[in-house]
């Protein structure tokens, strides 16, 4: 603990944002805080007057809040899930990516989880959920699974963070008490490493089913009703695929931003983007496959109510969004990512942003058209979100950026110890692993 803080560290680029945040950082924080304050005001207005300030009406009784809920929770899937899969499969290139991904999960999940509460007509009665809740309702399944996912992914973020916190503590970064408190007396002894490894192994295995269950259950909110366009058995896996898809796009965007802002070109190399973008490409194809089978079965069955929703999406009021979604989620990313010439960093950035926009539209297309086409002949208007809903959407994004910035201010966004460990050990481990894949030499050859 007596190390001087001036000691040059091999990963100084990762420590720099924490040790010298710079002035622009504070400008951005102030800017975001202004947006968030205004959002708070807008939300307070909604509390005061009621949900009438939104654009929702009958029969479109769910709007932006539920769409954003599904969307944000979807984004959150990338993080912990991808990181756990990469760790489990021992992909060595995961090292600079996992932490960034896990942070997305923790922050976005907190934001997404708040959306159903924003959507309530009577948020003041939220305690009824605790005292009179009914486990029969899919909404309660959601409460349970999101809580589990949130705690699991926070723990999963925190445990591999401990050695890095200890590095910061040893370098005497302020506030010292924070790092002292969070580092749990880490000294990097062999026994401590063993404990950490074991805990992480259990968590990795646990986190994957929890993550999958969360989005499946979110899809159940829709699939458990009997409404046309919602009541579909494919919804669970369809939502999970969409979630992972949008999540990977979010990781890619963040990686590109961090690489630019913190000058991490040495850590996030082209190969990382290449691998992840190929994953994005695969997810895009799977997503298209699911979309195709979802709509084909609806179309072929030709049930009149189903068909009304179908045509509403394909050629009616929602056609522009529907076709834009197909372009954003399928045509554009596939075109860009298929070709290794366009699979460059700007190309990947465009593809990822288009996927994020496209996935948001997908959620819109799932939630609104089914509600806008009730079975009985009612006059239906068109849902136009109000200023309040747009502001809360923007506010949600601002909270995400701010949360990420605060995290990056206090903790390294790339796991320093895992990089170091990789430098020292992975070449040897991988070489050993590859030899173990090789066919054993012929007995005759050794017998000589």
């Amino acid at each position: 603990m007596e190390h001087a803080s001036a000691r040059p560290h091999p990963d100084a680029a990762l420590l720099n944002p924490i040790e010298n945040p710079g002035r622009t950082y504070y400008y951005i924080v102030v800017g975001l805080l202004v947006i968030i304050l205004y959002t708070g005001f807008v939300y307070f207005r909604q509390l005061w007057y009621g949900l009438g300030v939104t654009g929702m009406a009958q029969p479109v009784t769910w709007g932006f809040y539920i769409i954003n809920f599904v969307f944000f929770i979807g984004i959150s899937h990338a993080g912990t899930l991808i990181s756990a899969i990469l760790r489990l499969s021992k992909a060595e290139w995961r090292r600079p990516i996992t932490r960034m991904a896990e942070v997305i999960t923790a922050i976005v999940l907190a934001i997404g989880g708040l959306h159903p509460i924003i959507d309530l007509g009577r948020p003041d009665r939220i305690s009824h959920l605790f005292f009179n809740g009914r486990l029969q309702s899919p909404l309660l399944w959601d409460v349970a699974s999101i809580t589990a996912y949130f705690t699991a992914s926070t723990i999963y973020l925190y445990i591999p963070l401990i050695p890095d916190i200890a590095i910061l503590r040893d370098r005497g970064v302020k506030p010292r008490w924070l790092y002292e408190f969070l580092s749990w007396g880490w000294q990097g002894t062999e026994r401590q490493h063993k404990v950490l490894d074991r805990a992480m192994n259990i968590l990795m295995v646990m986190v994957i089913p929890i993550a999958v269950s969360v989005h499946t259950i979110i899809s159940y909110i829709f699939a458990m009703t009997v409404q046309p366009g919602w009541h579909s058995t494919i919804f669970g896996p369809y939502f999970v695929v969409g979630a992972i898809f949008s999540g990977i796009a979010a990781i890619l965007v963040l990686m590109i931003v961090f690489r630019k802002v913190f000058h991490l070109e040495g850590y996030l190399k082209h190969i990382h983007f290449n691998y992840l973008s190929i994953l994005l490409l695969i997810m895009s194809l799977i997503w298209f496959y699911f979309t195709f089978s979802e709509y084909l079965t609806g179309f072929y069955g030709h049930e009149p109510n189903e068909m009304r929703v179908f045509w509403y999406k394909f050629a009616g009021d929602f056609a522009p969004y529907f076709w834009a979604m197909i372009v954003c989620n399928f045509a554009l990313p596939v075109a860009i990512l298929c070709n290794s010439k366009t699979r460059t960093i700007p190309g990947i950035l465009i593809a990822s942003i288009s996927v994020i926009i496209g996935m948001w539209m997908e959620r819109l297309i799932i939630v609104v058209p089914s509600l806008a086409n009730p079975r009985l002949p009612y006059p239906t208007g068109i849902y136009i979100p109000s200023h309040t809903e747009w502001m809360l959407f923007l506010g949600g994004i601002s909270v995400f950026i701010l949360g990420y910035m605060i995290f990056a201010r206090f903790f390294p966004v790339i796991s320093i110890w895992e990089i170091e460990e990789g430098r020292h050990e992975s070449a040897k481990i991988v070489a050993e692993r590859i030899t173990s894949y090789m066919p054993d030499p012929e007995p005759s050859a050794t017998g000589e």
Binding site: F130, N132, G133, R134, L135, Q136, L140, W141, A144, S145, T147, A148, T151, A152, I155, I159, I162, W177, E180, F181, W184, G185, W186, Q187, T189, E190, R191, Q192, K194, V195, L196, R198, A199, I202, L203, M206, I210
Partner: protein
Amino acid sequence: MNKKTIEALQVLSISLIWVLFTGIAVWIVSLLRESLRLHDAPDASVGISIIAIPVFFTLASILTYVFIGLRKGRKEESEP
């Protein structure tokens, strides 16, 4: 801040996590009892409780395991 306070805070935070998770478990069980009383879909409720409660407790145990493991694993000289 001195070492003692920090240590006390650490123990406190771990215990709070246990309190939280026990709270969740109690909540789920009370919902379960409610649903049995009202006869609405007890099967779904039982299913959820069987999965959810152990998940929360495993998470808390992992944290505690790491906490204790890291304390035990410290170098000799830093032990008081």
